[in-house]
């Protein structure tokens, strides 16, 4: 199978990359009608599979689950998830031939095997849905020409997809139709109806393409979302311990700080996050994040280039074929860091203290979000797509770090995200070695404002605020956040 993106002429590559249209509510006026009475079969009953299925059924659609024979015979978790919630469960052979729409919600790594098993069983003119385009774009899977191929990708973990639906809301969602597979022209109607069934239409829907989704998703997850949060957390912890800060305190500050800080990012963007700092701290965070952007820009560009050329997916798939040697090695290393091994101390850290004592992480997050966004946009991805894959998802990953630290964070994210995260982390740490030598406890571990009188220069502050607020990620962010009027506050501490 050849990389699909690389088979396209440049103008077609650019065309598909730049698909990003924010959809109006009126476009969903038909509700779930296009799928009403149709037989929908979901393959896979993990977090996304189960929770999307619960939503779709509660929206009045006919849902059942196709699982592998072994999963049924051995009563695995996926079988229990589906049967405990009173869904019909059957083997591929039993259910796929009846399906009008097959929704593939298995892990990325299994896609090729799943599609090869499922496709021959699908009836003429049926539809196939993905929630990530890796299989189509990077692995170049060819789908039978009579089958309609679409994507509905909720930009949240499965548990949130369910929780938000039951509140009467939804999570931001990206939808797409594969241009090579829309023989009857029904792709968009199906994608929209499916999206309504999950509640996504309440929270802002982006009309995208398989190509734009894959190239932006891979970039976001390996750089700012997982990679930089991991690098920044480990470096911050090690610095505090080196400077004599209590290890329990350091561990707690790092584990939960990233969630508290990015909660401000979620509600008010990058400038909202920096507004939580005192004026002198804000100027300092601005200055060091400028420096961090200069240092890391080449690395962000290399990641984007490798994603565009297919180099990244090629090396990752080689590792898959090689028994995950690199992945497992890096995973083991992540489990062995001092941060991972030091339990959070039994100390109370106030909400504001997480900002005042962790200015360094504020700087990391600003640098990472802006760099990822800028690099994606420079590569031809639209600002809306770039926003979702950088700023929007950062608090979600931060929440998983607060729950379970880095090792477990890496276990719950996708196969591609985990591999990309390690790749970035391996390269980024040495890159920041000189920078970190200059960092002291005023930036991480102690209150930056201590011993300072809080005064700043008027003009300098105005300039800093102006630069922060006029960044393109802020401009598009204001528009998109309006559609997510009722974002829920996430709290672990």
């Amino acid at each position: 199978m050849a990389n699909y993106f690389n088979t396209l002429p440049l103008r077609e590559q650019l065309e598909q990359l730049s698909h990003a249209e924010f959809m109006e509510t009126a476009e969903f006026a038909d509700g779930v009608n296009a799928l009403k009475g149709k037989k929908i079969v979901i393959v896979g009953a993990g977090a996304q599979g189960l929770n999307q299925g619960l939503n779709l059924r509660d929206s009045g659609l006919d849902i059942s689950y196709a699982l592998r024979k072994e999963a049924i015979e051995q009563k695995r978790d996926s079988w229990k998830n589906a049967t405990d919630n009173n869904f019909t469960v059957g083997t591929y052979d039993e259910l796929i031939p009846t399906a009008d729409l097959v929704i593939n919600l298995t892990p990325d790594k299994q896609h090729t095997a799943v599609i090869n098993a499922v496709m021959p069983l699908m009836k003429q003119g049926a539809a196939l849905s993905y929630s990530h385009g890796f299989n189509i774009v990077e692995e170049g899977m060819q789908i039978r020409k009579d089958i309609t191929v679409l994507m509905v990708a909720p930009k949240c973990p499965g548990s949130e997809v369910r929780a938000e639906y039951l509140r009467g809301f939804g999570v931001p969602t990206l939808i797409a139709v594969h241009p090579e597979n829309d023989p009857e022209g029904k792709g968009w109607a199906y994608a929209k109806a499916y999206c309504v069934g999950t509640g996504g239409h309440h929270a802002g829907v982006l009309k995208s393409s398989f190509v734009a989704e894959v190239k932006s998703d891979l970039m976001g997850e390996q750089t700012i979302l997982c990679g930089l949060l991991q690098t920044g957390s480990i470096l911050s912890f090690d610095k505090m311990v080196e400077k004599g800060i209590d290890a329990g305190y350091a561990s707690k500050l790092v584990q939960y700080g990233v969630e508290v800080i990015t909660e401000a990012l979620k509600h008010g963007g990058v400038s909202g996050m920096l507004d939580r700092l005192s004026n002198p701290a804000k100027i300092k965070a601005f200055q060091i994040s400028e420096e961090l952007k200069d240092i890391m820009r080449p690395l962000f560009q290399k990641h984007q280039d490798d994603i565009m050329s297919g180099e990244f997916s090629k090396t990752m798939m080689e590792d898959w074929a090689n028994g995950d040697v690199n992945l497992l090695k890096w995973r083991a290393e992540t489990g062995e860091t001092a941060f991972e091994k030091t339990p959070a101390g039994d100390v109370k850290i106030g909400e504001q203290e997480y900002f005042d004592n962790y200015v360094l992480m504020v700087a990391f997050v600003r640098a990472g979000v802006e760099l990822a966004f800028e690099t994606m946009v420079e590569a031809g991805i639209k600002p809306e797509s770039a926003y979702y894959e950088s700023l929007h998802e950062t608090p979600l990953i931060a929440n998983t770090i607060a729950r379970k630290k880095l090792f477990e964070m890496n276990r719950v994210i996708s196969d591609t995200a985990e591999y990309g995260c390690y790749l970035f982390d391996q390269a980024c740490k040495p890159l920041l070695a000189d920078f970190m030598k200059k960092v002291d406890t005023d930036l991480v571990g102690k209150n930056f404002n201590e011993g300072k009188d809080g005064s700043v220069d008027n003009v300098q502050l105005v300039q800093v605020n102006e630069i922060l607020r006029s960044h393109p990620v802020e401009v598009v962010g204001v528009k998109l956040r309006k559609a997510m009027t009722a974002m829920k506050t996430i709290k672990t501490v």
Binding site: G37, D77, N85, L166, R403, A486, T492
Partner: protein
């Protein structure tokens, strides 16, 4: 005279800039057991929390415990509202979560939670057994915290306090959501503890309190005022019934004469049978009282009706004339129902103002996301006025006293003038006059073509309009009958 167990000197506490407690002084001597009663919002819970340092207050709170008493020399506070987290400290749950089954177990079991508590205070598990029995909680051991109903959560809190047997026990609204038998048994355990040296402080407007209680007080103008007995406690004045908003004086359209029909419905989780062969028919216009001890299956039964329970899809359940799972969405169902329950309250959106909370009733959402029409805005204003909530409309719901929060959510329940009202302990947290007021509202409202299902543990606090009764025990229907005001139940 010996030293007071509790000596409070000049306690001052503010909430959002408003003084709640002003130079409050209080001494509790050994042998005294107090009830603090009176109006909602007078500062009862704030006082309790300030005593155990859960709220910031200036002034002194001095405890003097008896060193010769073997009971733990500490003050223990049981809040009026429960709180739990999953294994990772996460507290973000949604209220239907307990009906959605997922393989990874997110919260501790009751048993594990008790073991954890016992370790922390070095307690013997055998000592907990009789308390579990007395509160009818012995079958909940393997239940996950997320699966407990609100009454069961209350019991878990109480089991811990009674097991610990502290020298000073402060209970804030301990009877909320408890069934009759548990309330009685709780009081006798408390009497037993009082006998051997526990000092009791109860915050409650309930009349059935432990015999040991011998001091009564209320809070007025931020200060504690002892009174000689419960009759002297000032309750909120009987509310002047305002004219009923006109939009609620219309009978809503009814979809089908049979609103609800269940045929032999059973629900089972693994080994645990929650509902067994339930057959029940509710005709349009009927007003049902649903009763049963905590854990008898009431919440599960209601969740089947409201579209919150996945097992509804495979059972013979007919709602508004349609079989469940015949292509309707849960929003089609919820649109016809006004619902309130302790769980809905507990999980309600913390970012919602009173106005938003009421507005969300039009769309059955938790919090508010959609455009509210002009006509709807007028109706919200009328209900705010009707429930005396106008001045609170822009405040965050969860910052108000519990009684007011409840009133706002009751307004949310009736705002769309639904054909079916499902009220699961609607008056929990309301004081007596608020309860009387709400029941009067309900009696009037039910005159306009409503069908009602009402869950209530307090026989003395039920609306007069109820005309049928269904009683569950261990998941089975034990009584299904017509009732009238003279029926003893």
């Amino acid at each position: 005279m010996s030293n007071p167990v509790v000596h409070i000197v000049n306690l001052n506490l503010q909430y959002a800039g408003t003084p709640v407690l002003c130079n409050l002084n209080w001494r509790i001597y050994p042998g005294e057991h107090w009830v603090i009663a009176g109006k909602s919002g007078s500062g009862k819970s704030s006082l309790a929390k300030a005593m155990v340092k859960q709220e910031k207050a200036s002034g002194e709170v001095i405890f003097t415990f008896d060193p010769d008493n073997p009971m733990p020399a500490q003050a223990f506070y049981v809040a009026n509202w429960y709180q739990f987290a999953n294994l990772e400290g996460d507290r973000n749950f949604y209220y239907q979560q307990r009906y959605n089954k997922q393989q990874q177990n997110d919260t501790l079991t009751v048993y594990a939670d008790l073991i954890h508590f016992g370790k922390k205070y070095q307690l013997n598990f055998q000592d907990a057994e009789p308390i579990l029995q007395a509160l009818g909680f012995e079958n909940c051991r393997e239940t996950q915290l997320i699966e407990l109903s609100s009454g069961e959560h209350k019991k878990l809190q109480l089991v811990q306090a009674l097991w610990l047997r502290p020298q000073l026990l402060i209970l804030d609204e301990p009877y909320t959501g408890l069934d009759k038998r548990s309330r009685k048994n709780l009081n006798s355990i408390l009497d037993g503890m009082a006998n051997v040296g526990t000092t009791l402080v109860l915050i409650s407007n309930d009349r059935n309190i432990p015999d040991a209680v011998n001091r009564y007080a209320q809070i007025e103008d931020g200060q504690l005022h002892p009174v000689s007995d419960l009759d002297e406690i000032k309750q909120d004045e009987e509310r002047q019934q305002k004219p009923f908003p006109y939009f609620l004086q219309k009978a809503p359209a009814v979809d089908n004469d049979t609103m609800i029909e269940l045929r032999n419905v059973s629900v089972r989780y693994g080994e645990k049978q929650v509902l067994k062969n339930i057959s029940w028919r509710v005709q349009a216009g009927e007003k049902w009282l649903l009763q049963g001890p905590n854990g008898s299956g009431k919440s599960t039964l209601l969740s089947l009706l409201n579209g919150d329970h996945p097992q509804a899809y495979t059972s013979a359940i007919f709602l508004f004339g349609n079989k469940r799972g015949s292509g309707e969405s849960i929003w089609d169902i919820k649109q016809k129902i006004g619902i309130i329950s302790p769980e809905l309250h507990w999980y309600f959106d913390k970012n919602a103002t009173v106005w938003h909370a009421i507005a969300s009733g039009f769309y059955d959402s938790i919090g508010w996301f959609l455009q509210v029409k002009y006509e709807e805005k007028k109706q919200i204003e009328q209900l705010l006025d009707f429930f005396d909530l106008l001045e609170d409309k822009d405040k965050l719901l969860h910052t108000l006293p519990l009684g007011k929060q409840r009133l706002a959510l009751l307004a949310r329940t009736i705002i769309k003038n639904p054909q079916l009202l499902i009220l699961d302990e609607p008056c929990q947290g309301l004081d007596r006059s608020q309860t009387a007021h709400f029941n009067a509202v309900l009696d009037e409202l039910s005159g306009y073509g409503k069908t009602l299902i009402y869950v209530g543990h307090y026989e003395s606090q039920l609306p007069a309009c109820l005309d049928n009764r269904l009683v569950l025990e261990k998941g089975e229907v034990v009584i299904s009958e017509h009732i009238n005001r003279t029926t003893v139940y």
